[in-house]
Amino acid sequence: MTRLDLTHISWTQTLLRSRWPQFLLRAITLAGFVFTIFAGLFGSVVGSHNFAIIFVWIAWWTALKLFFIPFGGRSWCSICPIPMPGEWLQNGGILQPCGKGIGLGKRWPKAMRGSWLQAGGFLMVGLFGAVTLTSPLVTAIVLMVILLLALILSLVFERRSFCNYLCPIGGFTGLYAQVGPVEVRVKDADICAAHDEKVCYDACPWGLYPLALKSSANCGLCMECLRVCPTDNIAVNLRPWGSDLGSKTKHNLDEAFLGLVMLASALVDSAIFLGPWGQLKSAAYAIGSLPWLLFAGVFIVVALGILPGLYIAAVWASMRLGAIKTTLRQSLAQFSQLLVPLGMMAWIAFTISFAFAKFSYVLPVISDPLGWGWNLIGMSGTSWVGQSTSFSLLLQVVLLAVGLFWASRVARRITESVKQALPLIAFSIIFSLSMLWLLIG
């Protein structure tokens, strides 16, 4: 497939190779992160007037799903402030590693590898979402806990263990980065094979060896390999969307779990935040109460029971219809690719319906970030009741249709025949129509 190598363009190469642009972005996001925690702790308790709520859950969360992932894969991870303090300590330097870092550097336990914990974390975010999403204080505490957790883990474990195995957003971003249009790969495999000093592997905070890179799921686009490669053999490619999917790529079972949790979360979030069911909202909000336990039960049944059940049934039916015999486990893993385009487009559609209506909160909050009655840019008090327009509804329909189109293509590509693809397509149709009904029904 066609690729555009950014290291062949002199100005992009300079931007990627130099540590300064990335460092500055990281420093700014870190300061922003600290400010967000401050705003959450000391600012207005009214969410719509607090920077922490609006910037984390409306501006950033929207930007991640509409901009960073679809146009840059894990590009957010490359400027994410959360692992920074720990990584700087590990490296013994802020701008670049200088070899005198601190930290125990233990290996992450084998049993806890993969994206299982990330998927579980994302499920948790969903279970407590109604409160986190609306309470500045809770948002600030969650951010602080994540920052501290990342710091402590980076002192105990090697490299970016937190990002790789724990961070729920890392799971989300990694899963969908597989269809993102950016990848880091080696230019010429023979040069690497002949080179017996793996400086790139040593430098990679993610513990990856560029020569072995087949998928962008775990590559955080930090560009360290590019900077240390003595032979300039690392390419940063712009590629067609969906490049990591296909019959020849390798996918693991944890990906199926992660993909299903994401689909379930998209459904449940749409039902809570966009649906007309007030009792569901109250139940999701009253953490610890009986209705909440009921809600949590339903959520878990959907995420761990119904959707996986349908998926397993579809995969099983598909296996029966095919000639090549694999185990159910292998098929569950291999066919999980289907969940990637399906989930990504569903999340984008959900975000459109949500962000269009709520974006009016952003400017007033820049004008008065802490909700203390300031008016820095004269925009305080301009928020209006957000509406979803017919344009936004149409856009959601188109996005979901694109998701289904894409998922069907993937389903056909990874199976032997149309017949074998049909159960997988049926699963995609059921999910897409449910989502459609929740968003525009």
Partner: protein, 180 residues
């Protein structure tokens, strides 16, 4: 294509190949045309809307933190809809997407307003008076007539599936192991 270099292809074969290529091209364009037409049909076919004579509808909605009850309303296009908004705990509002219609009610003071449901479709209504943490998500639905957008979207989704399968057959790519 290697043999071409060593011997001249005879004329009949050449025209056959040309013929095949033209056929394939026509077939592709045929499919694309078919999908374009289906797409337009799905999006713009006028669907029969059951015509009811416009009726007066009185709907009493109770607003509490954070729900409207009933949360889903159904009226016919052209109806004169009168909303009675009753707040049962704190001050709430009622703002209807797509219509310029807003109400605001204190507990003990029912607010009433009337509008003509002249636009069909599904519209969300939202609380327009900040009423606590979940206020931004206090949402209800008004259905005016049948939800044609949903019907068209379902048809569009099915078309998307067929298009996906056909597109792989018509434009195979090197990623497809099994497709010949």
């Amino acid at each position: 294509m290697a043999p071409q270099t060593c011997r001249r292809p005879d004329k009949s074969m050449e025209s056959k190949a040309l013929n095949n290529a033209t056929k394939r091209l026509w077939k592709r364009w045929g499919w694309i045309f078919l999908f374009a037409v289906s797409l337009l049909l799905i999006l713009f076919t006028p669907l029969p809307i059951p015509s009811n004579s416009p009726a007066d509808r009185n709907i009493r909605i109770e607003a509490s933190m954070f729900q409207f009850s009933p949360g889903e309303l159904k009226v016919n296009q052209g109806d004169r809809v009168t909303i009675e908004l009753v707040s049962t705990d704190v001050v709430h509002g009622f703002s209807l997407d797509g219509y310029n219609f807003e109400l605001k009610a204190d507990p003990g003071q029912t607010a009433t307003g009337t509008f003509i449901a002249d636009k069909s479709g599904v519209f969300r209504f939202r609380c327009s008076v900040a009423c606590g943490n979940l206020h931004p998500f206090m949402i209800g639905k008004l259905k005016v007539g049948p939800n044609l957008l949903l019907l068209r979207s379902i048809a569009l989704s099915l078309l998307a599936v067929i298009a996906a399968l056909v597109s792989l057959r018509m434009f195979p790519d090197q990623q497809s192991r099994y497709i010949k």
